[in-house]
Subunit: 349 residues, 2 copies
Amino acid sequence: MTTSHSDGLSRRLLLGALAAMPALSGLLDATAAQAETGAPLASWNDGPAKQAILDFVRVTTDLSSKDFVPPEERIASFDQDGTLWVEHPVYSQIVFCLEHVPELVKAKPELKDRQPFKTVLSGDREAIAKLSMRDFFEIVLGTQSGMDVEAFREISRKWLAEAKHPRWGRLYTELVYQPMIEVLNYLRANGYRTFIATGGSAGFVREYSGKVYGIPPEQVCGTEQAFKYGYDKDHRPILTREPKLVLDNLEAGKIENFWLMYGRRPYTAFGNSSSDDLQMLEYVKAGGARLSVAVLHDDAKREYAYGPAQGLPNTSVGTFSQEMYDIAKKQGWIVVSMKDDWKRIFGFD
Amino acid sequence: MTTSHSDGLSRRLLLGALAAMPALSGLLDATAAQAETGAPLASWNDGPAKQAILDFVRVTTDLSSKDFVPPEERIASFDQDGTLWVEHPVYSQIVFCLEHVPELVKAKPELKDRQPFKTVLSGDREAIAKLSMRDFFEIVLGTQSGMDVEAFREISRKWLAEAKHPRWGRLYTELVYQPMIEVLNYLRANGYRTFIATGGSAGFVREYSGKVYGIPPEQVCGTEQAFKYGYDKDHRPILTREPKLVLDNLEAGKIENFWLMYGRRPYTAFGNSSSDDLQMLEYVKAGGARLSVAVLHDDAKREYAYGPAQGLPNTSVGTFSQEMYDIAKKQGWIVVSMKDDWKRIFGFD
């Protein structure tokens, strides 16, 4: 009974039908191939945000500029959820993890009556939506542990190749913001190395970062659990994902762990969440002639609208507080209005 | 009294006189500029080790080979101490840290009677040499904590620009193995990205990895302590090094943390220590047509000789056990004899 209930729940939680799809690789190659042609940032409307990005690149790459940055120091950091791809109505990786809760509970029945698993199994969407990020971390550690690293890669790849977003009926990896793909390409064309700094699991994001964003796995910094070296039954060495958090990339953890992994302050950072990007954006901006950019989701028609900054609806996913908005203005960050600054949202628009 | 005693000790511990030196940068640029000219691996004698490296590169980069590796997957990992540069008579970073123990004890007098600080302050070289790696980690955490990340970079750079190895009277960064510099260059010339996986602090090694090895800071994985975000008295955001270990890169930690940071199994790995490189080399070799290389220090005349493998002297620094030697032979790793395989040891030879 638990199983059939769980199966039904699993489907509901996917928030959309899973359908047979062509291999992911073809699609992703096409996305990555959208290199710069003609004028840079073609999907951006003229305005202060676009101009600030162009100006930043100009002054940091012009040898005669007082703000010139040597090529080996050109580091750019990007949040993922809500900055590079859609994060509503719920973070994609959470959808991926929730789907695996029923099989986890089947293997460990004692979790059935423990939070947050009990809430997930209840199927109560409103209660699930109210779970905290710490609850989600527990779900992530529960569903992504005890397996070989290669097995996890396989499960991630399979999900990414099949699962679709309920609103657009497209793969999650198609729901990347075309204007941001152009920023990544433009920065790289000017000698910047691009990095992802995400609250999500690095191991999940690495499965598509290369093909979708042109960012190699080693340049993805994320929340990460421990790995344990050991041997399988044939005495072959294996690495197993352990239910222990090593890098917690929420809040200030994002810049703390960026420094731990890469040892430098980025020259530019892009983010959108006041709970998880504020310190990164603030630290980058404090480094001198650097560029911090916060993306404001104010386009309910083409994507979503949420704040609560500027009177936008308040949601628990990807919160952009009025406090961060005020800090951005005071410290001279750039706030991007998706509605006004972006000509189109997606590559398929 | 403590101060003058400490000062004297500090000098002794440096194991050599500090002298005014020309800026580090000129020298390092020259080292990095030693790119491949003519035949690859010019400082290697013909033999099975050189041939294995050439063969590995050939079969993994030839499109018609069954073992062809796509460029984006070409990852090579290198231990540092004893593999890329000299580690005897004591790890360079330990010399750097021991020098700072007196000032640490001055700031926190309660450490004076606590181990391992008491032993360090005693000046008893034999007792210091017997400290365990865990003791050294405590010294590292003690001497590298409580300071801003930028301040630590400055201290590291200053030491690296001045401190000299007692035997050669040269900067530590000059004591890199020329044959290994050629391996790094040769791999990169064939599309490999080169990484360091060290038991030392990533933040220390990153200060010279680019200029000495051509390896950018973000491709250095090392033991690392926590960083804490906060504000200075002028409310400017700062990151402070904390006395807490986050990544422990000893023993199996080296491959566990390599996966955590980069998410992949390298195609080739180079190491030398049975305590800290064995699992990395074993895991790489278990991945199929891959190359694991262990460097055996068997050249007391030109460098040092230590094992205890093959009857070489047993030392506590960079131990190469007979057990690892036997595993290497059984699993098909390549063991490099510094005496027989290397025409010269250093770039200045």
